[in-house]
Amino acid sequence: MRVKRLTGDPLAWVTVISTPIALVILWDVSIEVFKIPSFLMPPSQEVWESIVANRQALFLHGQVTLAETLIGFGLSVAIGIPLAMLIVLSKLLDRILNPILVASQAVPKVALAPLLLVLLGYGAAPKIIVALLIAFFPVVVNTASGLRAVNRDTIKLMRSMGGSTWQIFTKVRFPTAVPHILAGFKVAIAFAVVGAVVGEFVGSRTGLGYLMLSATGNFDTALVFACVMVLTAMGIALFYSISLLELVLGRFNRLSRMQQPDEGFGAYGM
């Protein structure tokens, strides 16, 4: 459990905090050294000032993007998990759905965004759909592989107890799949942010994607980077809220904890 390890070791916190600080210093130094003009790449000071100056706009547009991301992600979970169940339940459905799934992954969904705009207009709908389309593949694939990661003898054991397919799902398959599902969520939620922003790029009057596009038009590079920062912070926050969910569902992670390498070597400074 990462969080436990962090709280227990002050040195770990130092590493976690010093890495971004080092990156910011590297940024400013390279601007200084390579004489990069500020309209191409503003120093961190300017980005920070832009964040403060535009905090209201960033907050409002950020809210829109966050809402689109969460709805898109939520829909990908609502569709992805039942779909994964069907794939695991039936060989026939697996054969029918698998090529469609792979094809859906191969289609450049970003390229579909203009088409969705035409179909669904300027509202939130096309952004949500793009976020959903990008996010749902990792959800389905991870859930399906998690539901399958069950020992065959455990299934036999459940059958000998008179267990139904549904009981096998609820008592064995789902708990086994929890770590896999959450791993899929982590990828999916980061993808959903990308999907929402891309949807906004194509046509929108709100959202951080729109704000970035209009700032680029005005050569306000500092604001563009401010938007990137807010999006990054949003992505990180969403990622760690899934990690938090992992902690809450910790007892289903017993298996993955058992499989973690032990840290005995640490004691010898290795």
């Binding site: 003898d153 036999k156 054991l157 000998s160 107890m161």
Partner: protein, 274 residues
Amino acid sequence: MPVVSLSKAPRDEPLEKAATIERVTKRFGTRDSVQALGEVTFDIGLGEFVAIVGPSGCGKSTLLNMVAGLLPPTTGRIEVLSQYVTGPVRDLGIVFQQHLLLPWRTILENVLLQIEVRRMGRREHKERALSLLERVGLADFASSYPDQLSGGMNQRAAICRALVHDPELLIMDEPFGALDAMTRDQMAMDFHLLSREARKTIIFVTHSISEAVFLANRVVVMTPRPGRVQSIVSIDLGRERHFEMKEDRAFAVYTRHIREMFESMGVLRENTRR
């Protein structure tokens, strides 16, 4: 079918049959290309402890699965407790080589899984589960998780799970096969005592000749794939078994007899350099 009895004392025939296996075969693969089990016929008496020994791949596990109703035979028929097996046999508990405890459940919750899935009363059976755990020496570990216990302890819990609903038949597929040699001997001894108390009909698959002789009333010796019954050996070592018995002549006669059968089948080969 040659029924070999090494001593002259007649085996006391059980009055009732727990299971009848009649001309059962099993084929796997596309168009049943692989024969896993040759024709097998034998009976198991009520309350009997039958061990099945045979080389790897001879179909002993397949046979167990068919008796449990988890796998249909290709031909032949199986009767368990006077009923033809057409699906999972209800009045039965299974122990596999792996303990298969669910890692997110405590030991007690794992034992009670049997009760939950069968939709029997959880509250009434909790006491029985706890007393079974106490019986196998796990009283203090009821609320521990499987990853906190050793392999042997987990396997004891798995045996409790197979017994908690008080089935007539207990089926065990190399239950001590994943344990180290010393734990294995102790488990065999403890299980011998438990099985005598529990009065179950037990079908026990193993690779170990001495384990089979030590535990069973009868040992079914199987040929290599496709497995058939080579011989059935009645073990007349009395109801009570002790570790010292393993050094006794009578015990050695049985193990030697079975080993020689495997040698004659080419499963085991003697050291010919003298």
